[in-house]
């Protein structure tokens, strides 16, 4: 009898523990993890999500680099022929869909799009004072990312409603470049409508920033009338500091010439190599341009990528002060100062002087924290865009075009003796050539050559094939996963 009681006791005990199932429920707050459901409950959540979108603009180093390396302006360089092979292949026009740098450009720009869309997805959750303006910035940023995508890859998947999630994987196809451009224009017009013209703080997009980007977007579609019109309000709203190159010094950041400038800082003091460019708020492009094995004053040693060609150096006419601004002649510099340097792969004797590592401009893990801002759109660029648009629009305004071009030249030479009086296609060609000299090293050259139809002739010698190389290949990985079509010829 006693045993039966014991058995009963055990049975009851067993059943009592069966009710333990909720022991394995899990709440993410147990590990202090914030989940999506907790979010967008105050305006500060929106502000901080917006910062998350701006964050991605800091990752465009390869976008900028390929704009130079794929062109006649520079060579890939680096340590050896196999150093960052993706850039080496682009340099030689041998790039194929398996290219880590192109893959990361694709993925980074879409991260930007998704972060922007995440704000649109949650737009109706809350109303707050700065909401319209805040969404104006989001419109601008989404346009910025889509423009990078369409400029580099052509037709790309287009989505605007929400951040994509796992179930969206493999469901989208590429939209035509014209549809993407239409969305970019719509976003920029929305930004122009919502944003103030004056910036409240350095780094935020303004309506003028959106004007400038929209002008560029029109130019890329040969919509010269619209381009001229949209750029017009900017003329005179900015200025050109007298000394060419001062804009590329620390003191020149966010100055009179700055239309849109991607902000970097050395103050995030980043140490971790395995999470760049995403982790640091520094400019990771800068160390790439550094002089290999450099020991000396002013500059800091770096990785000798993106080295300017002799062809670029020779393109500067005598008296053009922009040559020394754009290109550092290391042989001359070493002779003058006694500095020592090494030679990397494809050593030309020149380095990208606009975005070169300079002493004192980084911190913590030095390679990762150069605070150098990227001058995405400067007033000189706006002037040359306006010049081109005015010269090529349906009823050309040659005078305006000459004026804008000459304003840029005046600063370059320090006098007006090089002022252009050309008209028509000659003037157009002069503007294009001026863009190369004014914007050398800033990542515009290759895309300008493609846009203006010059690429197949100018880049023929380095292997440019018309009908193929105007755009870069869609990453193979994306083709495999999402069944996208590939660009012609790849």
């Amino acid at each position: 009898m006693k045993n039966i009681y014991k058995l009963l006791f055990v049975t009851i005990l067993s059943f009592s523990v069966i009710s333990c199932d909720d022991y394995v429920d899990y709440d993410p707050s147990e590990t202090y993890t914030i989940v999506a459901d907790d979010y967008f409950t105050s305006s500060s959540d929106y502000e901080s999500a917006l910062v998350g979108v701006y964050d991605v603009t800091q990752w465009i180093l390869y976008n900028v680099m390929i704009g130079e390396i794929a062109s006649d302006n520079s060579l890939a360089g680096g340590e050896s022929a196999t150093d960052v092979i993706g850039l080496q292949k682009i340099d030689d026009m041998l790039h194929d869909p398996e290219n880590d740098q192109l893959t990361s450009i694709w993925q980074f720009m879409y991260e930007g799009v998704n972060r922007a869309n995440y704000l649109f997805e949650n737009k109706d959750k809350l109303d707050f004072t700065r909401k319209d303006e805040l969404y104006g910035e989001v419109h601008f940023l989404r346009a910025f990312f889509y423009f990078e995508l369409v400029k580099i890859f052509g037709d790309v998947p287009l989505f605007t409603n929400s951040r994509l999630t796992a179930i969206d994987s493999g469901t989208l196809q590429r939209s035509s470049a014209s549809d993407v451009y239409a969305q970019i224009e719509s976003d920029l017009n929305a930004a122009i409508a919502a944003l103030p013209a004056e910036k409240s703080v350095n780094g935020r997009a303004t309506s003028f920033t959106a004007h400038a980007l929209l002008g560029k977007v029109y130019l890329y579609q040969d919509k010269f009338d619209q381009a001229a019109a949209i750029l017009d309000p900017l003329i005179g709203a900015y200025g050109l500091p007298e000394r060419p190159g001062s804009v590329f010094l620390k003191s020149g950041e966010n100055g009179a010439e700055s239309v849109y400038e991607i902000q970097h800082t050395k103050d995030s003091n980043w140490w971790a190599w395995d999470y760049v460019p995403q982790g640091t708020e520094g400019n990771f492009a800068v160390i790439h341009h550094g002089i290999r094995g450099y020991v000396g004053d002013v500059y800091q040693s770096g990785w000798s990528f993106n080295v300017p060609t002799q062809d670029l150096v020779d393109a500067f006419p005598a008296g053009d002060k922009r040559k020394d601004v754009s290109v550092l002649d290391i042989v001359k510099w070493a002779d003058d100062t006694g500095a020592e340097y090494g030679e990397g792969y494809e050593h030309t004797g020149y380095f990208n002087h606009k975005y070169i590592p300079r002493q004192g401009e980084s911190s913590a893990q030095q390679e990762l924290n150069f605070g150098t801002n990227y001058r995405a759109i400067r007033y000189a660029d706006v002037l040359l865009m306006a010049a081109e648009a005015n010269n090529r629009k349906s009823s050309p305004d040659t005078q305006a075009a000459q004026n804008y071009l000459n304003e840029v030249r005046k600063r370059a030479f320090g006098n007006e003796s090089n002022a252009s009086t050309s008209t028509g296609v000659t003037l157009t060609q002069e503007i294009w050539d001026e863009r190369r000299l004014e914007l050398a090293g800033e990542g515009h050259r290759f895309f300008d050559l493609v846009r203006t139809g010059q690429a197949s002739t100018v880049l023929q010698s380095i292997g440019f094939q018309a009908g193929k190389h105007e755009v870069f290949p869609i990453p193979q990985k994306e083709i495999d996963i999402s069944n996208l079509t590939q660009n012609n010829g790849y």
Binding site: I18, P28, V51
Partner: protein, 1016 residues
Amino acid sequence: MKSQILSILFFLGCITMAAQSGTITGSVTDSSNNDLLPGVNVVVKNTTNGTNTDFNGNFSLNNVSNGDVLVFSFIGYNTLELKVSSSFNISVSLDPDIEALEEVVLLGYVSQKAANISGAVSTVDGEAVEKLKPVRVEDALQGQSGLNVISSGTPGAKPTVLIRGISSYSGNDPLVIVDGVNLTLDDMNSLDPSNIESISVLKDASTTALYGVKGGNGVIVITTKSGKRNQETQFNFDSSYAQQSVEKTIAVLNATEYAAILNEASVASGGNLIYPDFSNFGNGTDWQKEVFRDDAPLVTNTFSARGGSEKASYYFSAGHTSQEGVLYGEDKSYFDRFSFTANIDADLTDKLNIKAYNTYANIKGSNLGDVLFNALNMSPTTPVYDISGNFGTDSKITQEVKNPLAQISNSYNEGNTNKITGKLELEYELFKDFKITSRLGYNYVSAVGKSFNPLVFYGANHNQTNSNADGTPIVTVDSETGEETSTHSRVSETTNTWFRYNYELLGNYNFSIDNEHNFSLFAGFAISKNTGEGLGGTAVDIPFNSWKFADISAATGDQKYSTTSSSYYVGRKVSFFARAEYDYNEKYLASFSLRRDGSTSFGENNKFAYFPSASLGWVITNEDFFNSSTINFLKIRASYGLVGNDNVSPQFGTISTFPKYTFGNTIAAGSTLYSIPNADVSWENQGQANVGFDLRMFDSSLSLSFDYFEKSTDDLLFNPTLSLYLGTPVYPTANIGSTETTGFDVSLGYSKDFNDKISFNTSVSFTSSDNLVTAINNGDKYIWGAGYGIPFKNLVQFREGDSPGIFWGYKTDGIFQNYDEVAAHATQDNAQPGDIRFVDVDGNGKIDAEDRTKIGDPFADYTIGWNLNLNVHNFDLSVFTYGSFGNDVYRAYERNLNYTNRFARALDRWTGEGTSTVEPRATFVDGNNNSRASDRYVEDGSFIKIKNVQLGYNFNLNENSVFDSVRLYLQGKNLLTITDYSGYDPEMSGGVLGSGIDYGNYPTPRIVSVGLNVKF
């Protein structure tokens, strides 16, 4: 004699008690079931005064004095010695000698007579572990059938342990159960191998399914030593000293050869001679010779005491193991372990027993980075020290590769881990043969780590240099603003604590019907909780740039350079399980089990999993019709079951507050959606079938076990590759793959006692498994694993249709001898004569990424272990040889910078048409990318190693000796390796997605030791 020693030790100075003499009476029982034992031989030690127990297990013996030692012996039981003290009426229980009577195998929750097991289990006893004297327990499992253990050369590092092949992508570590406490392989660094009583390796699903979602990779059940009842205290002291060295070095160029090839490469690339005159360069620096030492010590000392009274038993031990690495810098690479164990077992009442087991361990260690990589690639023209006595530098090598001795001297890190592992277990006999056990197992780990990055100087233009040659920080001045920036020394500290407990309530009932139908029923309930917390910080500017002051508290740098981080982990499980064993006259065997697991790891839509299993066995030799004098035992068995794997954490859509952007001069905090949720995530589901037999012949001197198994795993957990246009969020782990593994395990043993002076036993095990990834539904059907080098090259793939963890790269087809050959071949960008010809695998006329294919498999096709034990008079010899066949190795230690050193094979390079079909030309401009991941770097890593030879000598002791036994032994480990591999050591651990890659790994050292074991 022993008692005298004890008296001297403990009662020194006391007045010797007068010897009493009289009659002693008592009873003898079986400790396993308390049955009285008749016929037990009872004698006073070293006399002829003795008797036997009567039918009721009682005895009476005259002329016994206080202090005499009684010896109880009986066939099938362990002999027991007991000192007579004041009580002249004693009851004694004898432990069955499991080896002689019936080997019992511990299956974790339950134990079973070996003869009745119908699953697949390998066992290793403590004695075998002692013969190997491993630093880590897992090394003692090498060569067991069904296991693939790949050791690491780094002191104390975790080896790769695979039970029956690779069935998963995420984590193939088996579950480890130590005395009922759930642990992992990572916890094994705290276990002193000398504490081990036995190890069982559960291989098939009928034995592992009782562990459910943790059983998918097999289970290692470890039992540590405990005392025995009524046993006099036995002290055991074991001490050994070893020296370690490396077996071989890798052939690299000497200074003269290096200079000549550099000149050639430079000229071939249109450059100038690098070394116009190298006639007096000689051999230059042999960096390997400079970094290796051949006297690295490995010292172990253990001291233990075990024994027991009538109601309690105990085992205490203290052990210390100290191992230094084979590279110079004794404090830079070492493993050091102290451990203290107290295992106490006591009967609180007749029916209530308590077991309190506790082990404390302290583990300290540090490790060196890629010193061998640097030793192999550093230029031989660089001296170890320059003329001013500083470390030599090479101004032409500006990245990564540096003077390895300077690197050693700049390398500072230390880990200090404290662990407390143990259990508190109550067992209550509710009624006869029905026991309830309540067990609380726990494992507390506190790990503190520190690393110091001092200011270093590897040459003024080296990219890792951050100090001036005199060791002061490099201060740079912004030429524009005058702002100064300095380089910093930096210290990082981490502290992590993990606490894991499992509480289990178990019931066990054994009964027989008609003495023919034997049942053993078992059921249990368990909850477990795992928590982890981590905190880390860094700070800069360490006083005097010195390790001595390397601490955050001493750092003087600006706070803005400091970082902090923290992490948390919580996991809980709740489980029910039951098992039934049945046998009919030990002839027909069956077992069934079922487990239900719930886990916080799983998504909310899939919280609970069920894991059933069944096994059947037939002992043919127990049939009446079977009558053979040759075959002593033959059992056929089969099993099938489901097990799981839960290497996953809950998959939520989390918000990261990591993004930032600068507005004005302020860094603004941002946020974004960091990860994509998956509420469906669940366990990996593995079905495993096993068939096998056990055979013993010729008076059981020959034994053979054979098992064939098939495993198929579905719902493999890993991160899918989603469309890249989703951006860069963390993709959720999902159940999206499957694998199949088949294989067989064989073990063959033979033992023979020629006479009482000479005995011999040997065993051979054979393990093979064939692994196949049958599906990866992640979008692109493969996942990249490890890679190597700068620039980084992908290498390892987990790919549908192939075995897991293969090397993926280009196939080579010799060297282009001339331009005609280049032109005739598929388009290969920038190729020139003297470059490698890669195979156009996909036949599209172009060498591109699509031409990459399987170029090697790092996992062995099969492994063989061979043990030999020989006892001749006082000598004992044991030899263990291990062979691994069909495993490939990838040489990833070749850096291929223009100015780094090259390997001896470069002497046979292509220098013109017809000069080489293997080694490409020397050039500074490798446009063809000859160094891309290809089969050039893949070698057959098959090897046979004489892993262990131990020769012992037992001293003859005279009867009055204070010692019970004294044994002196010599041991050699890794004495000989037979392999075609050109690197240090083809055996290298690394996990499923990173095995077999030689980054310049620490080779397993050759260890020669001498040791002494004393029992008293």
